[in-house]
């Protein structure tokens, strides 16, 4: 059983279109996690046929996504797809992204689009990759597929401590021995608003410091000392 999770905060303008596109592309149940929106996102999402989980206080994009993952775990779903509510992610790429997880080739698939983003975001990615030791193209992408093993890990309290869904989540999964792959997908520009992080310098500096600290503190050191002659 597969479920689509969409964290949403004040996305009333675009959520109906996004849900319509998903419905046209697949039959999976869609769950919108409302991150305490102040507009009528909830009503519109419900009208479009989605189940809405209404958070009573704002938890941020990751807090909302985790709520969806906990809900998926409770309700026995084996696969969870996370997508942004702002129309960045193409429902048409769902099949390609789902394939490596549904065939059992990997535990987590991350939809990667490295063409997107400003130069600032590219520098951020590079620094994140360097400090965390993660070998992924698009670390900040919210377009992902998790299998049941990954959902179980991410529903736990350890993942609640994270503020963003990028490095912390990926490092947590990696430390539990789960495999993560990149799948190249096209992405659209945001239809509504702007990035919650990459819009003010103060936020970017705070976010980068936090993420780099997290990357460095949770870095997997084992591969540094791995013998070049393979396992023994």
């Amino acid at each position: 059983m597969t479920v689509i999770l969409i964290p949403a905060f004040n996305e009333a303008d675009v959520i109906a279109d996004v849900l319509g596109e998903i419905k046209a592309a697949c039959d999976f149940p869609v769950i919108v996690i409302d991150d305490a929106s102040t507009d009528n996102t909830v009503a519109i999402a419900e009208q479009a046929g989605a189940t809405v989980i209404p958070l009573s206080a704002q938890l941020g994009a990751w807090g909302a996504t985790q709520t969806g993952l906990r809900y998926a775990l409770r309700n026995g779903y084996d696969t969870a797809i996370t997508m942004d509510a702002d129309g960045q992610h193409d429902a048409a790429s769902l099949a390609a992204l789902l394939e490596p997880v549904s065939t059992g080739a990997t535990d987590v698939a991350v939809g990667a689009c490295t063409q997107r983003g400003s130069w600032l975001r590219h520098i951020a990615w590079k620094m994140m990759k360097q400090t965390s030791g993660l070998r992924l193209e698009d670390i900040t992408s919210g377009f992902r597929v998790y299998n049941r093993k990954a959902i179980r890990q991410l529903a736990g309290w350890r993942a609640t401590l994270l503020d963003y869904q990028d490095i912390g989540v990926l490092l947590l999964l990696q430390s539990k021995g789960l495999s993560i792959v990149d799948v190249k997908v096209p992405m659209q520009p945001r239809r509504n608003g702007k990035s919650r992080v990459f819009h003010s310098w103060v936020m970017v500096v705070y976010y980068m410091c936090l993420t780099l600290t997290l990357g460095l503190s949770k870095r997997k050191f084992a591969h540094r000392y791995r013998s070049p002659y393979g396992a023994h």
Partner: protein, 128 residues
């Protein structure tokens, strides 16, 4: 000179006792949890003790080879404060997780409740 020193020790000692009294008062009013109050009373009493008899610090400093005893007192105070703040942040992380998970659970239950209201379970076959 000795008189001034005596005055200073009485004032600092009294401040310590006053703080301890305020903490006990706050605990009686339930403004401060007994668990936190205990630590603060100890701090205030140490403050009073060192205030009334500063020779203690002089004696310890001498034994540890610290040339200027007040530095030892200040260093120890800073160390205690840093440890306290660190413990507070650890506690805060724990509370944040609990709070966030509660909000999440409430939202999930709200979603379940809504769907139950929309599609109530069929109870017509139940016996009275």
């Amino acid at each position: 000179m000795a008189r001034i020193e005596q005055m200073i020790s009485i004032v600092t000692g009294s401040i310590g006792l006053l703080v301890a009294a305020i903490i006990i008062f706050m605990m009686r009013r339930d403004t401060l949890h007994a668990q936190h109050g205990m630590g603060w009373i100890i701090v205030a009493l140490c403050f009073a003790l060192l205030g009334f008899s500063p020779e203690i610090i002089d004696y310890i400093a001498q034994n540890f080879g610290v040339a200027y005893p007040p530095v030892l007192a200040i260093t120890m105070a800073i160390a205690v404060l840093v440890i306290k703040i660190l413990l507070m942040d650890i506690e805060r992380s724990r509370i944040e997780v609990r709070n966030q998970r509660l909000i999440q659970r409430m939202a999930m239950l709200e979603a379940d409740l809504k769907s139950l209201k929309k599609n109530p379970p069929d109870t017509t076959g139940l016996k009275e």
